[in-house]
């Protein structure tokens, strides 16, 4: 059920985000809107004389970003490292698990309902539990990030494998495609677009998951910096950190899109080659 709307979202992204308007516009539009938001922000602060601890003006935020650039960079690195590791763990275990579940029908009947049910549970809410178990180190953050990104990937893999038509798998079987070959040349290429879409979503979820875990219990990372800044009522630094989080999110989304596109294209061509030989 949830994958339907994920699909719908990516459908919308294709239709409106790039297809209908063009890739150059999809880059220009966010920039234009960022400038517009910046101008409104600037105008509001100047016009209504808002105190700095409530809403600092954009130029002081940028100045604070520059002033604290080494701290922000270090914390962004700490957050990014956890997010990447968690995402990598999810891909390494979530996708194969999806294939295994899709392969064995009894397993699917047992495991699918809990996996779908888990999707409707706010998993980041478990962060305090893991912090109580494992302390302020990297482990609880890693667990939360993996937990948040794991199930979308597994579910997408299963849905992807299930999208294979009966005729395709019958054809594959009739030309002697078995176990490994079936996975490599039929399942993987068919599931790849689904996995790619989930991977892009998971990349941004990874940043959010790490951030929330850092909010709950951490001695480092952007989340920790944000909490300290807001605790000190240093709203300027907090906004600087938020901008860095947004940038990190964009880097993750962009990177994941590139990786996903590369992997799908490569597997797609392999798929074509395997069909012609």
């Amino acid at each position: 059920m949830r994958t339907e709307s994920q699909q719908a979202a990516s459908e919308a992204g294709r239709q409106f985000g790039s297809g209908a308007i063009g890739t150059s516009m999809s880059l220009v539009l966010p920039m234009v809107s960022a400038i517009v938001v910046g101008l409104i922000w600037f105008g509001v602060v100047a016009l209504f004389d808002i105190p700095k601890y409530i809403l600092p003006s954009p130029e002081t935020v940028v100045a604070s970003m520059f002033e604290n650039r080494s701290a922000l960079f270090n914390e962004a690195q700490a957050t990014g490292l956890i997010a990447i590791t968690g995402l990598a763990l999810s891909v390494a275990f979530g996708v194969p698990l999806g294939f295994v579940i899709a392969r064995y029908k009894p397993l699917r009947r047992v495991l699918m309902p809990p996996i779908v049910a888990i999707q409707s549970i706010p998993k980041v809410a478990l962060a305090p539990l893991f912090v109580a178990w494992l302390g302020f180190g990297a482990a609880p953050k890693l667990i939360i990030t993996t937990l948040v990104t794991f199930f979308p990937l597994t579910l997408a893999t299963i849905v992807g494998v299930e999208s294979i038509t009966v005729t395709t798998s019958q054809l594959a079987r009739s030309i002697g495609c078995r176990s490994f070959g079936l996975v490599r040349y039929i399942w993987f290429p068919s599931a790849a677009p689904y996995i790619a879409a989930a991977f892009r979503t998971a990349a941004t979820l990874a940043v959010v998951g790490t951030l929330v875990a850092e909010f709950v219990g951490s001695a480092e990372g952007l989340g920790n910096l944000l909490l300290i800044a807001s605790g000190n009522r240093d709203t300027t630094l907090a906004f600087a950190a938020i901008l860095v989080v947004a940038a990190l999110g964009m880097v993750f989304y962009g990177g994941a899109s590139l990786i996903a596109r590369g992997a799908t294209a490569r597997l797609g061509s392999e798929y074509m080659r395997s069909k012609t030989t």
Binding site: I21, L29, S120, A125, F215
Partner: protein, 257 residues
């Protein structure tokens, strides 16, 4: 009848699963002598839940109110924007791509700022919940409304429906399945927003119970609050499923897209 049988079977599966999880949990805590603040035995959680049931209920009500208000605000705003986006071409071209992009922005980072602005009240939680839930609902609603085909529009017109009638009696129903899956995502996201807000600054709610009992290493309360939260979210998502079943009863859309 088939639906009832299916429901009964599902209930059975759920009961068996819960019983199994409880059994493994109980066995694990009694065999390995884990500290109770890490993993309390199920009995301790049960005791906490039953002896302080009114405390749990009060806090659950606070969180539920925040989630539902956040969801209501998000849905209202999303539907208004979606109607605007599908009916005004310029808005669609200028705004909708941005909304799709904004969907993947880490909005949770704003939570500490909201706490600075509005303190320990319910406002920052509701704002956070609605902010996170808004974008997926909007995208799902727009996608649903876009599913209204030219043929369907012509059919409606041939029955003498004007623009308003076409929208309210036809287009809304075409959009409903996609809209409801947006709501389903939105429920979980609103819960994340509300609980995150409570984690960062609050004096009541399940999120408040979770962080304080985690800090005080009170296993019974921590697990009790977590389980209450999970059950509450699950029930809310299920309520959307039931609404879908009732609203789309007997239609082709009721069996999926």
């Amino acid at each position: 009848m088939a639906i009832i049988a299916g429901l009964l079977r599902r209930m059975l599966v759920i009961t068996v699963t819960i019983a199994l999880v409880g059994l493994v949990w109980w066995a694990a805590t009694s065999i390995w002598d884990v500290p109770t603040y890490l993993i309390p035995p199920p009995s301790e959680v049960w005791t906490a839940l039953t002896t302080s049931s009114s405390f749990f209920l009060t806090n659950a009500r606070v969180t539920a109110t925040e989630i539902l208000l956040g969801l209501a605000v998000a849905t209202g705003a999303a539907v208004a924007w979606a109607a605007l986006i599908v009916s005004v071409d310029i808005v669609r071209k200028a705004v909708f791509p941005l909304m799709v992009v904004a969907q993947s922005a880490p909005k949770e980072a704003l939570a500490p700022i909201f706490i600075i602005w509005w303190g320990f009240s319910a406002t920052p939680k509701i704002v956070m919940a609605s902010l996170i839930a808004f974008f997926p609902i909007l995208v799902a609603t727009v996608v649903g409304l876009e599913r209204f085909t030219r043929e369907q529009q012509l059919l409606a017109s041939s029955m003498g429906a004007g623009p308003l009638r076409r929208f309210f009696s036809f287009r809304i129903w075409v959009a409903l399945p996609s809209f409801l899956s947006g709501i389903r995502l939105g429920v979980t996201l609103a819960a994340i927003g509300a609980v995150l807000g409570e984690y960062l600054g609050s004096d009541k709610g399940l999120g408040y119970m979770i962080v304080t009992s985690a800090r005080q290493l009170n296993g019974g309360f921590l697990y009790g609050a977590l389980i209450s939260l999970m059950i509450m979210c699950w029930a809310m998502v299920r309520a959307v499923d039931v609404a879908e079943l009732l609203l789309l009863r007997g239609t082709r859309a009721g069996k999926g897209f």
